[in-house]
Amino acid sequence: MNAFLALVRKDLYLHFSNRRAVLMSIIAPILIAAFFGSLFGSKSGGSKASPVPIAISDQDHSPLTAKISAALQADPSLAVQSLDADAALAQVKAGKLRAAIVLPAGFGEQAGRALFAGPEGKRPEITLHYDPSQAMVLPMVRGLLAQHVMQLVSADTFSGQGAPVMKDMRAQVADNTALPAEQRQELTAMFDSIARVQERSARAPQAGASSAASASAAEPGRSQGFTMSPPFSTRELEASAKADIPYNSYAHSFAGMGVQFILMMGVDIGVALLLMRRQGLWQRLRAAPLSKARLLGSRIASCTLISLIIFVLIYAVAMAAFGVRVQGSWLGFAAVLLAFSLLTASFGLLIAALGKSPEATRGLAILATLLMVMLGGAWVPSFVFPEWLQTASLFIPTRWAVDGLDAMTWRGLPFSEALAPVGVMLGFALAFGALAIARFSWEE
């Protein structure tokens, strides 16, 4: 035990007395985590997401398209510029705008008819130019466009301005001998009812003038009278640990950067073993009456301890200065830290077992680490990956480490949710360790 503890103590002393090692393994992850955490902050936490810069090009110049433009410009999620189509496209290509909406000529007249055209019917086509490097923006812009266009087109169609369209549609239905007579009668009755509503709306603006005026003042682009709108409203709540505690982006960023830099520290420790071979230190240790289990075991133990200490220090800063909290299970949090520390230690040992020269091994090991970290969601959240990559990342141990830490911190999940990440990481640790022991070359 004396020898085992002496070896562990020596490794701890050498690591923490090395200024460069401390800087790289503790200070660097804190600084980078702080940076990334500030970038991806929560809306309700006080930092607001910037509006998406887009352009709109109105080639129709109709009252309807003017209202659509105005509604989009008033949307707080968007920062809209009115440009001609060519200028808008140029801006998107240059990366200055995320998307450009082109409302084609004839849109105002065709949109109302298209409401009743059916799935095979003709409808005007809105061109959406988007920056392919920001493809995530496209669904959002499309959704907002659909919302505003639906509201305004339906309002327009069913108000007095839409009377000619309704009249045309009624005439088409009445002349459509392919429709059964009963159905034709019911549809024409529907259009007649709509026409009466439209006439009433056009005749009686004064009756609801004050409320309508104030309503339209509050919602620019909206016309008075009957309007269709989405049959629901939304209340947005962060699915974070507790309703009154907003999402803290630092929790994820500290998890990711902690995982990355601790794994890199594991690489350093593995390479250090190769350096010990070269310097004759390994020979001296092997000449002592120590079993292989003790020699390697002390290495695993010291690396695990160093990893744990570093992680604790990183999270201490995260909690003290950045408000990170263990909203879930403390036991689960500790278990995830310990499992990842063991994983790091066995990874370091594997590097030492497979490596030849320290220089060549360091380069390859850092590449492997960066790949693991990247695919594990430490830099970019894994949900932005394509689906096949999200599935593939489940085979990467760092994914489980980051997910496990997220689960125990900002997601506030119970201990049971830590079991899978801990189990997977321990499995990887065992596999790495077994391979390391099998491949470890004891004789020079």
Binding site: L7, Q279, Q283, R284, A287, P289, L290
Partner: protein
């Protein structure tokens, strides 16, 4: 007869298809220095690795004080101290901490460890540098600390693999004095080197190795007796010698060996005084002038050359 502490029988070691050590046997007793001399690649370090338990022999056995390496590895290793060829020191750990660490590996009780470490540091003349890191030491000091780390657990046998490599002459002398002191204290030392001067100074017995095998073994006097001549006269003449004069010189009393290469002449003599006078007289009578003359006692380089036909140093 000295008590034999370490006995190695018929050691074999193969790396792939290359036989690094072939059937080497050796013994070393208390208070004795056994030199392993040979050129690079002779098998010296491979032998040390087997004796230290770092590599498993492919054949043969080795015991220390009755403890066989193959059967009681830990008991064997407790009686061995290894001074590796490299400076096996933790450069960022203070000198005393280095020694304490290695002492702890031999399960020295914590209460005695520090005192023992300080004593060993004093023994190698580094007591004042106990709290300094080896990174601030000179090469000679590092070599001394390297030895100290191998002494902390008081081994019976010390294995030293080229312990003065890269060291200045003054530091080398200091190291030799320490090793001589260890010898006087009853330690058994096995010392490998390819510098014959070191072996000639320290060793009681020498094994000369080449291509993994023992080519000669014995005390220095016994090895010198393997040579045809105990003394050597080296001459550079003003011109090349002819065959007749060469025959004349060979026939002179005391001349045991003669090598002529161009105007260079090397004469092996049984005794320097009379022999050199006869040679110089014969050359003068033949009208030869001397450009350069030197003499020397036979050395292990000569022994190695005589036995293998090759130089000891590359």
């Amino acid at each position: 007869m000295k008590q034999e502490l370490l006995q190695a029988q018929a050691l074999h070691k193969r790396y792939g298809t290359r036989e690094a050590v072939r059937g080497l046997s050796l013994t070393v007793g208390a208070g004795e220095v056994l030199g392993l001399l040979g050129p690079n690649g002779a098998g010296k370090s491979s032998t040390i690795a087997m004796l230290a338990g770092l590599s498993r022999p492919d054949g043969g056995s080795v015991t220390v004080g009755g403890a066989a390496l193959s059967q009681d590895e830990f008991a064997y290793k407790r009686r061995i101290g290894l001074v590796p060829q490299e400076l096996a020191l933790f450069e960022d750990l203070p000198a005393l901490a280095n020694i304490e660490l290695f002492g702890a590996l031999y399960e020295l009780p914590a209460a005695q460890l520090k005192a023992r470490a300080l004593a060993v540091l004093a023994q190698v003349g580094l007591a004042e540098r106990a709290q300094d890191k080896p990174s601030s030491f000179s090469g000679g000091m590092k070599r001394r600390l390297n030895i100290a780390c191998a002494l902390v657990h008081e081994p019976d046998v010390l294995l030293l693999d080229e312990p003065t490599a890269g060291v200045d002459p003054q530091s080398r002398n200091a190291i030799f004095e320490q090793l001589e002191a260890l010898k006087r204290a009853g330690k058994a030392l096995i010392y490998t080197t390819h510098y014959m001067e070191e072996v000639e100074r320290l060793a009681d017995r020498v094994i000369i190795m080449d291509h993994g095998q023992q080519v000669a073994h014995g005390s220095l006097a016994e090895l010198y007796r393997l040579l045809p001549a105990a003394e050597t006269l080296k001459l550079e003449l003003d011109r090349e010698m002819d065959g007749a004069l060469e025959a004349t010189l060979r026939a002179l009393p005391g001349v045991q060996q003669l090598q002529a290469r161009g105007s260079q002449l090397q004469v092996g003599l049984s005794e320097l005084g009379a022999g050199s006078a006869a040679v110089l007289g014969a050359l003068a009578a033949a009208g030869f002038k001397l450009r350069h003359i030197s003499s020397g006692r036979a050395n292990l380089e000569d022994v190695f050359l005589a036995l293998t036909g090759r130089q000891l140093r590359d």
